[in-house]
Amino acid sequence: MSISIHQLAKRFGGFTALDGLSLDFPAGELTALLGPSGCGKTTLLRIIAGLEQPDSGTVEFHGEDATARDARERGVGFVFQHFALFRHMTVYENVAFGLTVKPRAERPSKAQIRDKVFALLKLVHLDWLADRYPSELSGGQRQRVALARALAVEPKVLLLDEPFSALDAKVRKELRRWLRQLHDELHVTTIFVTHDQDEALEVADRIVLMNQGRIEQIGTPAQVYDTPASPFVLNFLGHVNRFELRAGQARALGGLGIAAPANEDGPATVYARPHELELNITGQGIPTTLRRARLAGGQAIVELARSDEDQLIEATLPREHFLALNIIQGSTVYVRPSNPWVFLGDGI
């Protein structure tokens, strides 16, 4: 089922959580809402679920206005950040809950419920824990119970609020892959909220980048990574180095091997990712001094201090390239962005 939202706005007191958002979620896609905390992503998710009401704007499910529809009638599966498992019920009872509260006419028989719950528990590999209580489970297991519980009512949309943030790093990684596989099997429209760019880049079909209640960019992981629409997007998707060029200095872009933008004399900001910097000792680019170099596996992580300004630059390059440069602490190294992002204007 597709979801579209139009001009959605929501304020909490003086804080604007959503500032007139419009967006489409195509059917069957796995979309990540990515942004820093306080950007409105969880509010958007809760409005889609019906747990919050927007101040203005509409939510459409499959082309029908669902803004006024009660949460219990929206047919969404929701996984909470801290799972919100019913603490006084066993795993089995938790998963069966959505089926047992159905009106008598629609309620499946006891045997049907049992079959369905065990099928779901098998799907999440937890059928052997059916009689346990949530407090007896690990974080990863609770997460999977929460997912099975949400899937029991056959939702047309699955919403996940920071689904992996309460888990430790290793479990998080496993569950990410598993969620992706599960989505490929079930093909239910899924939206998940995250502040972790790696998670979004790895799992999602599409990423919606949000900032201060607005959308910064929408695109596939490759699109947002390769063609960031704003300095915010660039900054949010991993570490970047930033070079400020004041008015008049923009000409220096030529010296960096960057195609100079139209208004050559205006101020500009150049961004470059650590692995998109070329290091040389032949005098091309920005002069720097080698501060520190660490060899981490196949990579060298290099910290450089600019000679002309008080700024540190981080670069990563293949181990062999670094060793071939034959430089030590204190050596002068020149840096040139191989794939720079130029944004015009002051103080972006």
Partner: protein, 289 residues
């Protein structure tokens, strides 16, 4: 170096020794205080009640006026406690689940009976519902008697027991949050299903604790009830009032016999309260693991 070692020894040893004395002293003080102010009177109640043997003791208890007083005390509690349960639950729900104007005022008002002397609250009811009170003439017209009758006693009992359930539930429900209720709603559960299957099981021991405390207060209340009761024997005397009357008549065996009934009710309540507190603690500990 040697000096610092000496210093260290003296620094660490002294508090240890004085710490032990402090500990022993405080424990002794607490035990002494408890014994003097709680255990001794309790023993005295039973000793005085039984000073003439079991015969007069039981005679005093099965005497019709004592029975009527016990019945009235239980009736007042049986009406006030369930009403408190519903009110406390509703108030705690409203305070912890919704944002509204005057929320802080509501929380303060819930605590009012703790701050106001019970006698004053009784007087307020006399002022409102008494023969010379604001609503007195209207009540007389409809032939309803509130003051010096059972309704007044129930009202006074309600007033003094209002805070217990809500006070117990508000922090508990705040700590538990609304995630589970939201999850249930998204799974298709209706309001009553959420209340019966999610919220009540979550808060049951906190609720039990509040109910027990409010029951104890309801049966033991003296001041507020004394003002509105009128002390009509066999009609508007609760057990605590009955004890006072007997005592004033120098019938100390009967007075202490009835007092011992109250003491037994109190001990029983204390046991139940501890059980509820224990269950509350263990159910909370279960959530955290």
């Amino acid at each position: 170096m040697a000096q610092s070692a000496v210093l260290r020894v003296s620094l660490y040893d002294k508090p240890k020794a004085s710490g032990r004395w402090l500990r022993v002293g405080l424990i002794a003080l607490a035990v002494l205080g408890l014994g003097l102010f709680l255990v001794l009177p309790l023993v005295a109640v039973f000793a005085s009640a039984l000073q003439a043997g079991f015969g007069p003791y039981f005679a005093a208890i099965i005497e019709p006026e004592a029975w009527a007083a016990l019945r009235l005390s239980l009736t007042a509690a049986a009406i006030a406690v369930p009403l408190n349960l519903v009110f406390g639950l509703a108030a705690a729900w409203a305070v912890t689940r919704y944002e509204f104007r005057g929320k802080q005022l509501l929380v303060t008002l819930i605590d009012l009976p703790f701050a106001v002397s019970p006698v004053i609250s009784g007087l307020i009811y006399v002022l409102l519902f008494g023969a010379q009170g604001w609503l007195g003439p209207w009540l007389a017209e409809h032939d309803w008697q509130v003051i010096f009758a059972v309704p007044g006693i129930v009202l006074a009992t309600l007033f003094v027991t209002v805070p217990f359930v809500a006070r117990e539930l508000i922090p508990l429900m705040q700590a538990q949050g609304a995630d589970e209720e939201e999850a249930a709603r998204l799974l298709g559960a209706g309001g009553w299903q959420i209340l019966w299957r999610i919220t009540l099981p979550k808060i049951r021991w906190g609720l039990a604790y509040g109910v027990i405390l409010s029951n104890a207060r309801a049966m033991g209340e003296f001041g507020a009830v004394s003002v509105v009761s009128g002390h009509i024997r066999g009609l508007t005397n609760t057990l605590p009032l009955h004890v006072e009357i007997l005592y004033n008549e120098y019938n100390s065996v009967a007075a202490f016999a009835c007092a011992s009934l109250l003491a037994i009710l109190a001990l029983f309540t204390l046991g139940l309260k501890e059980l509820a507190a224990y269950k509350l603690r263990t159910s909370r500990a279960g959530d955290e693991s």
